[in-house]
Amino acid sequence: MTDFRISRRQFATGAAAGGAAAALGLKPAEAQNFGGAELIEAAKKEGKLIYYTANFTEVEQETIRAFNKRFPFVRIELVRAPGGQLITRVRTEAAAGKLTADVIDHSDRALMQPLEDLFQDYAPPNAAAYREDVLISKKLWPRITVGWAIAYNAELVKNPPKSWMDLTKPEYGPKLIGQVIAPSGGTTWTRVMFERQVLGEDYHKKQAATQPVLYPSGAPLSDALVRGEVSIAPLLYNICYVKKRDGAPVEIFFPPEGVPVNFFASGVTKTAANPNAGRLWLNWCMSDEGQAFMIKEQGNLTALKTPPVYPPGWDPKAVKVWAPDFQQYVALQKQWIEEWNKTYGYRQ
């Protein structure tokens, strides 16, 4: 277990960078390092790339639009599938020699690591600016970083919870809280680890006693929260942020005990037909400009040592970032998820 508290120095640097971030979009391409003129020219010749992701289509389309403002000559063709299904597709296509993806992006690093051999050597120009401790391979990079928060429907909840521990209080039950099931994927598994390792071994038992409503994934839960089907829910900040940004009656906060974060893994495949376009896409996503866009517009976090900007509501002096130990992330998953299922009465 690793506790990554943001230092004052980091905060100061981040704040300064945050102030400059608004100007980032105005910088010409040459002023930032996206891989050099040669790469840009080669990507222009390729003209397109095929991109596999487990992230949501709508979110990815926003990112692609921002990338195309900078590099309009690269057309990105998207294939989106839920985590488990994406891995099955990638493995099967690769085995049949028909892997069409140039870039693959996945939310579960534990599922991606065994596929390392499918990827070519790749590192973004600003590789040194990234935290080494979150890298599981030199070929796979944390293009996206997401963090957990607590959200509530402001129209329905007059006395909102203020911490993770508050979610165990009987006053928030029965069926007022929505929970994403533990086996839904890497991001939820990260939160489950955090709850057990940081909030206590008995946290799940106490929380389950409030009789939460279980949802298969975060997106339908966020919709249920907006509609008022449930009133409170632990959710990824980026899922709720866009709803709040667009005017939905939701409030989100980062609980004081910590914010479990999950890092995606992205890489360029060995068989890529458009490797230069793939590299350029990842270079841009990993750049300060790309990360700032995803933080500001989509409510993501970042694995950059010095964040170019912070998401709204993020107080770097107060928020404690929590990232799982990757060995434990892999080793504990099966047993702890089974125990979670039993505690919450989820039938598997």
Partner: protein, 598 residues
């Protein structure tokens, strides 16, 4: 006494021998042709059905991916079946599936049969309108129907419950329950029963009904003891098809069953494929159990149907009798209007509200009419995505290919099974029925495993999707056509043969014109099913071949009910236009009240 002319005899004998040789050669050729025809059909079915099912079985008996791990390293074991069969959660899901689909089927039969009778055999006003309304639910993807009803009748936030609260009622609708599942299944799958029974009622010789009435039987008694028994194969086929289709539906139980904690087999299978890591082999084992259950039902249906003759379309012209209902015709019209309200108007209104409203939080009844809450933002975002237009074009393309190629293949199979005595026709029937039992989510993986390695670049094209849909919906199409084929009396074909027509000419000039409404209905059904199909598309689409159903799921999974509803409305309108076009093309046949042979 005539003298024996040996030369003439020899000449005659030679001529006779030549004729006999020619006849034998022709017979041999015909036999070879018949054999080739059966073999050809079996080969096509082996490619489309047996090979993917074998991959599925292989997957269920191992814990490997046949493409990734190769074919030589399997450690065959029944462990997945043992695990699945001993899992109480699977027992619960199976029981829930049978209850939900059984209840839903009973309701679908009640609704479908009532409306087919109202439309075809009564003088209820606005029949064309009722006929069109009865089919509308068929266009609505299950996921969309469920989302619309969750908006309407969720116990906490449902619009109807807000209305009930607003007018002071304490009772609440709860669609997140077993009763909710049964009701939604029943009202949305009634068109399957309607399509089968309306065609049968329209094509039925009314002589037996007239005889019953002459004998003093009341209209109701005639209906129950003569009319419905006569169209029993259509009722059973519609009932079975709707039951089996419900059994394979994911969208409705996912949206309504999950919050109500009513797990069914499809949601269980989906969970197995979506968990981290995915458990496809276990999912394949569950799917094979589902196949066995469905296979038993199909077998039962065949026994019931084969015991009796249901030929009602013969060489005699007739017009189905129309029952004069008097004042009761306004009651039947009222029933139709109520059905239309429940199944079309309310869900469409819910979708319109969701598609145009910025957010679906509705504090009270007044806020529903607050115009500041409405905008075009979801449509703007929808059409801002280049994938949307591409998915629409791809879907239309794949739907058309599926309907045309699948329709021809289904006719070939249906004719071979129902109208010939070719060897192997029973096997062809059984193989073509197999896919009905395989849930789409799992069959998608089976097709991927089976066809990705084939030379010729099938993977990544529209054709792989079309082939998967043709295979997956072959039972639906063949059964839909078989009902029409079974009703044609053999005397019509025999008359053509006596007049010197060959088999193909008989099919072209006699059979096809007679079953034209059935063929067009089957192709339309195939088109609709192909456009809605999600499960088998999930693994076969690529960046160039994105289809609407997959994109719709993406939006739903993305948690944006507004864009999901907007896209659903676009899809519904597109389908309605296309179906209207198909109906217009076939109007001569379907609306004819004259007996088909007349």
């Amino acid at each position: 006494m005539a003298t024996f002319d040996s030369a003439a005899f020899a000449e005659h004998g030679a001529a006779w021998a030549t004729t006999r040789d020619t006849g034998e050669r022709a017979a041999r050729l015909r036999a070879a042709g018949r054999w080739l025809w059966s073999a050809g059909l079996m080969l096509i079915l082996a490619f489309l059905v047996l090979y993917p099912v074998a991959m599925l079985l292989l997957g269920a008996l191992t814990n490997t991916n046949p493409v990734v791990d190769g074919f030589g390293v399997f450690d065959l074991s029944p462990a997945n079946f043992v695990t699945v069969l001993s899992n109480p959660n699977v027992h619960l899901a199976l029981a829930n599936s049978l209850i939900a689909c059984g209840g839903g089927t009973a309701l679908a039969v009640l609704i479908g049969l009532t409306f087919s009778w109202v439309v075809v055999r009564t003088d209820t006003p606005c029949k064309r309108f009722i006929a069109a309304a009865s089919l509308i639910p068929l266009f609505v993807p299950p996921l969309v129907a469920a989302v619309a009803w969750a908006i309407l009748a969720s116990p906490k936030t449902g619009l109807l419950n807000s209305v009930l609260a607003g007018i002071g009622f304490n009772w609440r609708l709860n669609v997140y329950s077993m009763a909710g599942l049964i009701a939604i299944f029943g009202i949305y799958y009634a068109p399957y029963v309607y399509m089968f029974t309306a065609a049968a009622l329209r094509n039925m010789d009314p002589a037996l009904e007239e005889a019953a009435e002459i004998s003093g039987a009341s209209a109701f008694k005639t209906l129950i003891t003569v009319t419905f028994p006569l169209i029993a194969p259509a009722i059973i086929s519609g009932m079975l098809l709707s039951f089996i289709v419900m059994l394979g539906i994911y969208g409705i139980p996912a949206v309504l069953g999950t919050p109500g904690d009513v797990p069914v087999l499809t949601t269980y299978i989906f969970k197995l494929t979506a968990w981290t890591p995915p458990l496809y082999s276990t999912a394949a084992a569950v799917a094979l159990i589902l196949m066995v259950v469905t296979g038993l039902l199909v077998w039962l249906q065949q026994i019931v149907v084969s015991r009796r003759s249901y030929t009602t379309v013969a060489g005699k012209a007739f017009r189905p009798a129309v029952l004069r209902l008097g004042r009761w015709r306004y009651f039947t019209l009222g029933l139709a209007v109520a059905y239309l309200l429940i199944v079309v108007v309310l869900p469409t209104l819910a979708l319109i509200v969701a598609a145009f409203r910025k957010f679906m939080f509705i504090r009270n009844l007044q806020s529903l009419f607050d115009t500041r809450q409405y905008s075009l933002i979801h449509f703007e975002r929808l059409f801002d995505n280049p994938l949307v237009l591409r998915s629409i074009v791809n879907t239309m393309e794949v739907g058309l290919i599926t309907a045309l190629v699948g329709g021809v293949l289904a006719f070939a199979i249906g004719y071979t099974v129902n109208r010939t005595r070719l060897s192997g026709r029973r096997t062809i029937d059984v193989i073509s029925t197999l896919p009905v039992a395989i849930p789409g989510l799992v069959v998608g993986v089976a097709y991927l495993w089976a066809w990705i390695g084939l030379p010729g670049g099938l993977y990544g094209t529209i054709w792989i999707l079309a082939l998967a849909f043709i295979a997956r919906f072959m039972p639906d199409t063949v059964k839909a056509l078989s009902t029409s084929l079974m009703q044609i009396h053999r005397e019509l074909e025999e008359a053509a043969w006596i007049c010197g027509r060959g088999l193909l000419a008989t099919i072209r000039t006699v059979v096809l014109p007679l079953v034209r409404p059935g063929v067009i209905a089957a192709m339309t059904l195939l088109f609709i099913l192909a456009i809605r199909e999600l499960g088998s598309s999930l693994f076969l689409y690529t960046s160039n071949t994105m289809v609407m159903a997959v994109l719709l799921l993406d939006y739903y999974e993305g948690g944006n009910i507004g864009i999901t509803a907007a896209f659903s409305l676009v899809q519904t309108v597109l389908l309605a236009v296309l179906i209207g076009l198909a109906h217009w093309l076939s109007r001569g046949g379907t609306n004819s009240g004259v007996g088909q042979a007349g």
